[in-house]
C-alpha cells in the first residue's frame, strides 16, 4: 500500500506539473481522508494523494440507460450505469458469499422466518442527509416490491412485513422459512434509495431524481447527457475505504467493434464485454488486463437454454427432443459463438451455484448417429434434400430468438440440418419475443438466456414450476409440468440449511434431465477488459470501480 501511495504521489505531482491533471477538486479536502482510511495512514500527504490522485476512469457502456434508478427496474442497461451510485444492505463477494455493506451485521431467527439487520450509523446520502432504517423500509415497500421484477416476484409473496424497529435496525418477517434472502440484498437485487428524495409523492417511474440520482455509493452523480455520457465524481464521505479515483465517466458506445477500438486507442479504459474474436489478441497484449466473471448487472450464472414447446406435436415427442440433444455439438457453441467465454452446461443448474449444481446428471452428448437412430425409430424417415418427414409432414420446426442471439440460431439450424431437421429462424426483439413465446405459445423451439441468479429459488424454479405456465415472460417456457418437481421446489425453498437443500436440487435435476423439457447449451461468462494503467477493479459487482485507481502512464 505504501509503495502504491508513493507511486500515486509521484504521478499526481507529475500531473499537476504538466497541468493536465483532473479538473475536479473532489477529494482534496484532508478531512475527508481521515474518515476514508483510518487504519492505513502512513503520512497525511500520502493518504491524501492516494484518495485524490486516482485519476478519471472512462467506461464504455453499450446502451443509453434512460434512467439511473436501479431500484425500479431489472434492465441491465440501467443497472450497469447506475449501481455505482448506490449500495445494498449486503454485498456479495467474488464467491457469492454475503458480506456487510449498509448492514454491518445480521441475525437469523432459528425458524428461518425472521431476519434482523443492524445498519451502519456513519453513512450519509450524497446530499448530506443521514442514512436510516426508514430509507430501507421505504425502498422495499415503494420501489423494490412494486417495481423491481426479480425482487418482487421472489420475495414478494413470502414477505409478511418489513419494519424499522429503531433508526438503525430493520426486521424482515416471512410467512414461512425463507432461505435465499441474503443473496437478494446486494446492489443489483436491492439497491437502497433515500426516502427524503424519492418519497415526495411523485410516482417513482417519473421521478426527476431518476436522471439525477442521490445515493450512498462510492461515486456522486454529476451529469447525464442522454445518449452520450454520465459523469460522476468520487464520494469524499464514502463509508468504505476508497474510492481512489477522482471521477468516473460512462460513455455510451453501442457498437462493440467501436468499443474495442476506443479501448485500444486510449479513449476509454474499461469495457464490460470484449468481442470474442479479439479476446486472444487482447489477452496477449500487456497493455490490457482481462478478467471473467459469471455475474452481470442484468443477472448472474446465465445458461443459454433451448426450450421445447411440449404442446406442439413434434417437440412433445421425447425421442425428438433427445435426438436434438444428441445432434448438438455444444463445444462448437463455446468455441465459435462464445470464443471460449463460457463452458458447456453440465447440468440444468449452473456451476456458479456449486452447492446446487449436479454435474453427474446425464445430459445427451454429441452423437449424430444416435440422433439419426432416434429419429428413424420415431418414424421420421429421410426424404428429398435431406429433410425427414412422417405421414406426409416434414420435420420442420421454428427457432425463436432475440436478434442478438442470431449466432445460436445459425449453429442450431446447421447442426439440426445435418440429421434431417428443417429449422426456420425467427428473430424477435425482446418486447415481441415475450408475448409470442409466453402468452401465445407460438413457437416450436427457442433460446433464452436463463440467469440462475445466486440461488436456484431466484432464477431456476421459474423454468419448471407448473404454477408458472402462463403469460408471464421468462418463466416456464416449455410449459413443463411434473408434480414431483413442483413438490421438490417447494420443499427446497422452505429448507434453510444449504447442505439439506443440495440433495433436493440434485433430485430435481435428475428428473428434468430425463424429461428434457429444455436443452441446456452453454454457461456464459462476461469478460471485462481494462487498460493496464488502471487496477483494483471488482468485476463481479456493480460497484466495480469502488477501489480502482488509474495512473497516467
Amino acid at each position: 500500500m505504501g509503495i502504491r501511495s508513493t507511486t500515486a504521489t509521484l504521478v499526481c505531482m507529475a500531473l499537476v506539473a504538466t497541468g493536465c491533471g483532473s479538473d475536479e477538486g473532489a477529494g482534496d479536502d484532508p478531512t475527508e481522508v481521515s474518515t476514508a482510511s483510518p487504519e492505513d495512514t502512513p503520512t497525511v500527504s500520502d493518504t491524501e494523494t492516494a484518495d485524490a490522485g486516482g485519476g478519471t476512469l472512462t467506461v464504455a457502456i453499450s446502451s443509453d440507460p434512460g434512467s439511473l434508478n436501479p431500484a425500479i427496474t431489472t434492465s441491465g442497461a440501467v443497472h450497469t450505469a447506475s449501481e455505482t451510485f448506490f449500495n445494498g444492505l449486503v454485498a456479495l463477494d467474488a464467491d457469492g458469499a454475503p458480506v456487510p455493506e449498509l448492514a454491518e451485521s445480521w441475525e437469523i431467527a432459528d425458524d428461518g422466518r425472521e431476519y434482523t439487520f443492524t445498519l451502519r450509523d456513519d453513512v450519509t446520502w450524497h446530499d448530506g442527509e443521514p442514512f436510516t432504517a426508514d430509507d430501507v423500509v421505504f425502498t422495499f415497500e415503494e420501489a423494490l416490491l412494486q417495481l423491481h421484477a426479480r425482487t418482487q416476484a421472489s420475495m414478494g409473496s413470502a414477505l409478511e412485513s418489513i419494519e424499522a424497529t429503531d433508526d438503525h435496525t430493520v426486521v424482515f418477517r416471512f410467512t414461512e422459512p425463507y432461505a435465499p434472502l441474503l443473496q437478494q440484498l446486494n446492489v443489483t437485487e436491492a439497491p437502497i434509495l433515500p426516502e427524503h428524495v424519492y418519497g415526495d409523492g411523485t410516482p417513482l417511474e417519473e421521478h426527476p431524481a431518476n436522471t439525477a440520482p442521490v445515493g450512498t455509493g462510492p461515486f456522486v452523480f454529476e451529469s447525464y447527457t442522454e445518449g452520450s455520457e454520465i459523469r460522476a465524481t468520487a464520494n469524499p464521505d464514502y463509508f468504505k475505504d476508497g474510492p481512489f479515483l477522482d471521477g468516473l465517466v460512462m460513455r455510451v458506445i453501442p457498437d462493440e467493434g467501436t468499443q474495442l477500438l476506443s479501448l485500444e486507442s486510449g479513449e476509454v479504459d474499461f469495457l464490460w464485454g470484449v468481442p470474442g474474436p479479439d479476446l486472444a489478441r487482447l489477452e496477449e497484449d500487456p497493455a490490457f488486463v482481462l478478467e471473467s466473471t459469471p455475474s452481470n448487472p442484468g443477472g448472474a450464472n446465465c445458461i443459454m437454454t433451448i426450450s421445447f414447446n411440449l404442446e406442439r406435436p413434434i417437440t412433445s415427442d421425447l425421442a425428438v427432443r433427445q435426438a436434438i440433444g444428441h445432434a448438438l455439438d455444444r463445444d462448437r457453441f463455446v468455441d465459435q459463438v462464445l470464443f471460449g467465454q463460457g463452458q458447456v452446461a453440465e447440468a440444468p443448474i449452473s456451476s456458479g451455484i456449486p452447492w446446487a449444481h449436479a454435474p453427474d446428471v446425464e445430459l445427451p452428448t454429441y452423437d449424430v448417429d444416435e440422433a439419426r437412430r432416434l429419429l428413424d425409430e420415431a418414424g421420421w424417415v429421410e426424404g428429398d434434400g435431406g429433410v425427414r418427414s412422417k405421414d406426409g409432414e416434414t420435420l420442420t420446426i421454428d427457432f425463436v430468438h432475440f436478434p442478438t442471439f442470431s449466432k445460436y440460431g445459425e449453429l442450431v439450424r446447421e447442426q439440426l440440418g445435418e440429421v434431417g431437421f428443417d429449422v426456420e429462424l425467427v428473430a424477435l426483439e425482446p418486447p415481441v419475443f415475450g408475448p409470442t413465446v409466453f402468452a401465445e405459445d407460438d413457437f416450436d423451439t427457442n433460446v433464452i438466456s436463463y440467469c440462475n441468479g445466486p440461488d436456484p429459488e431466484i432464477g431456476v424454479r421459474r423454468m419448471y414450476d407448473s404454477a408458472l405456465i402462463g403469460d408471464v415472460p421468462f418463466t416456464n417456457a416449455a410449459q413443463y409440468s411434473d408434480p414431483d418437481v413442483d413438490r421438490l421446489f417447494e420443499e427446497a425453498s422452505q429448507t434453510v440449511a444449504t447442505e439439506d437443500r443440495s440433495p433436493i436440487y440434485a433430485e430435481i435435476q435428475r428428473i428434468v434431465a430425463e424429461d428434457l423439457p429444455y436443452m441446456w447449451l452453454v454457461e456464459t461468462v462476461g469478460t471485462r477488459a481494462w487498460s493496464a494503467r488502471c487496477e483494483g477493479f471488482q468485476p463481479h459487482t456493480g460497484l466495480f470501480a469502488e477501489s480502482a485507481r488509474c495512473s497516467d502512464a
Binding site: T74, A153, V249, P431
Partner: protein
Amino acid sequence: MSARYLLRRLAQVPPSALLILVVTWLLLHLAPGDPLIALAGQYGDEAYYTAMRERFGLDQPLPQQLATYLGNVLQGDLGTSYVRGRPALSVVAERLPATLLLASTALVLSTTVGVALGVLAARLGGGRADVSVRVSTLTLYAMPAFWLAQLAVLGLAYRLGWFPIQGMTDARRSLSGLAAVGDVFHHLLLPAAVLAAGELALNVRLVRTGLLEAARSDYVRTARAKGAPGHRVLYHALRNAMLPVVTVLGNRIGMFFTGAVLVEVVFAWPGVGRLLLTSAQSRDLPVLLAVFLVVAGAVLVVNLLVDLLYTRLDPRISYAARD
C-alpha cells in the same frame, strides 16, 4: 404569388402530419408484442404486469388510446416515455441537436465542397474526363454508408489517429468555451464527411453537367462575345447549374437523417438515429412516434425552405404552374 403559394403549402402541413401520425400510431399498436416486457423485465408475475399495464394506460381499448393520444398531441403532449418516465418530446428534443449538427454539417460540406469540385471537374471539359468523373462519383455514391464508416474509423481514426474514434466530445476532459467548440468540431468532422460523401458526389455531377450545358448556351456565348469578365460568366452559369442541386437537396433531407442512423451507430454519435433504434428495440412507442413526427416535420419544413430558395434562384419559375 409566391407568398400565396407558400401559404397554401403551409396549410397542407398539419393534415399531412396528422395523417402520418394516425397511420403510424395504428401500425405500431396493431403490431404483435407488448411494451410491458421492456418495462417490466423478465422476472415479473401476473399481478405485477397487470399493475404496470394500468399505470401506463395500456389496458384501455385501442380507439380510446388513440383518441387520448391525439387529444394530447394537439396540446403539444406526445406522451410519456415508457422507459424513461419523461415526456417523449423532451427525450427527442435533447437528442435532436446532435443529429441536426451532424446532418447540417454534412449538408454544408456536401454542397460547398461538391459545388467547388463540380466547377473544377467542369474545367476538365467533356469527352474523356466525362467517363472518369461519372464513374468515380457514382462509385462514391454507391458505397454503402456503413461500409464507408467502418473503413474511415479503421483507417483514418484508428490507424492514422487523425480523428477520435467515437462520441461528440473527449470524455477525459471537461472543456469550456472555445476549446469545447474545437473539441466537438474535431469529433464532428469524420462522421459528417462520411455522411456527406454520397451527396457530395451527386453534387459534383450535377454542377459539372449544368456548367457544361451552360457553356454551350446562348447567354453564356453572348456574354463571352461581349467580353464580360470570366467570374461574372461563371456566376451566371453557376446560378443556373445550382438549380438541380437545390431541388435534390430539398428532397434528400430525409435521407440525411437516414444516413445519420447508420453513421451514429458506428461513431457512437448521440443523436436521434440511435434513439430510434433503441426505442424500436424496447418498443417505447411514445418516443418512436415522437422521433417520427420530428423527422417527418423536419422534412416538410426543409421542403418549404427549398421552395423559397427556388424563387430567389430562378425567377422564371411560376408557382402557379407547379403541381
